[in-house]
Amino acid sequence: MRAAAGLAPAAARNRRPPAGVEPAVVGRPLDDADLVARAQRGDAAAYEELVTRYQGIAFRTAYVLAGSAADAEEAAQDGFVKAYRALRRFRTGAPFKPWLLEIVGNEARNRRRSAGRRERLAVRAAAEGPSGGAAPSPEATLVASEQRRQLLDAVEALRDDDRLVISCRYFLELSEEETAAALGIARGTVKSRLSRALERLRAQLGEVAA
């Protein structure tokens, strides 16, 4: 619930519950560690909150890895189920997201489609120009949209290792640790693989431009 966000700060400060009514406990949202600890004690609602919180990134990560929306949904769901059953092994204090993405990544890779059957990422048809500033001309929008499509095509044409590491880091905006977990590789490998992937992408874009 974000209703309070619309109130002016002074109004928010001055709110008082009517006399005789217990104020609702509207504290900060529970952080992942709290939710995990509750879920480990069998609190199903706490785990559902974690599912709600991470289902978007779990699905998108699985989609990038598996190459199909249907497989991604299955992989993400199975990943959450396996993670719940493995919660007792979760190391207290460790971040939940990479741990979850490692499990979902495993599930997704086991469902990975061959290159020919993989669904491709697409640029939004009516991608808007950069936010803020003056509205770009229709021609400028068209050029920018074409450039984005070319860039995505170039990424999609890379070999799988390169495409996946770029997609995780930039399109899914995963950290190095999360990328390593999702791809099932070491963190050092993410760095070296990403650097090589960017080099090859740059070379490819250079060829297109030439």
């Binding site: 092994r89 048809a125 960017l198």
Partner: protein, 240 residues
Amino acid sequence: MSSADLELQLLALAADIEFPPAPDLTAGVRASLAQPRRSRRRWIVLALALIVVALAGVLAVPSARTAIERWLGIGGVKFEFVGALPQRTVTGTPDLGTTMSLRDAQTRAPFRIVVPPRDLGRYALYVHEPPPGGVVTFVYGGTKARARMILSELRGDYRPYIQKTMLQTQVVTETLVNGDRALWLEGAHSVEFSDAAGRFTSEPARLAGRVLLWQRGNVTFRLEGDLTLDQALKIAESVR
């Protein structure tokens, strides 16, 4: 275009990528968790850490310890479960030993080397010692650093173990290769080999991803590559 420009463009592109709408998984997860657990087809998911905890008391008994350690490994490979993998410099080029002909490798190996079928493509053969008896490795798809797939064969009847695999993975999946017990490992794990004195050395060591391990007779096979479980099983079943 500079690297920084390219990275900026990729970050900008992220906002315009159209992913399929994410489904609401909560109901499906809730329903799955409400069902009793079932083993799937021919393999069983082992919650290894739970087993380790459950067996912690039993491990104090020496006779039981041997049996359990063997069970938590396969052939010449022992597993060790760790909270965090050792910090290693990953060179990307595994030290697989010396390249040699199949005939030379066979004269060194104390077991009959199983040559994979030709349709897997051209390979380079390496033999690494230590460990005792050596590890014979077929490398497919180019140089060691860019290998597509690696198939290693090593003695499976040597005690103490030849190879130690340190795992931080979530699950190990038990399966079968032509009726022989096999294990499928996913996620980063660290591999070490023992020297002639049985000491595990930190080199050669590397971090691996997906690996299928199986044991036939006195030979342990280790298949590593960017493979799904089904692909790995298909290849493993063709190596006979």
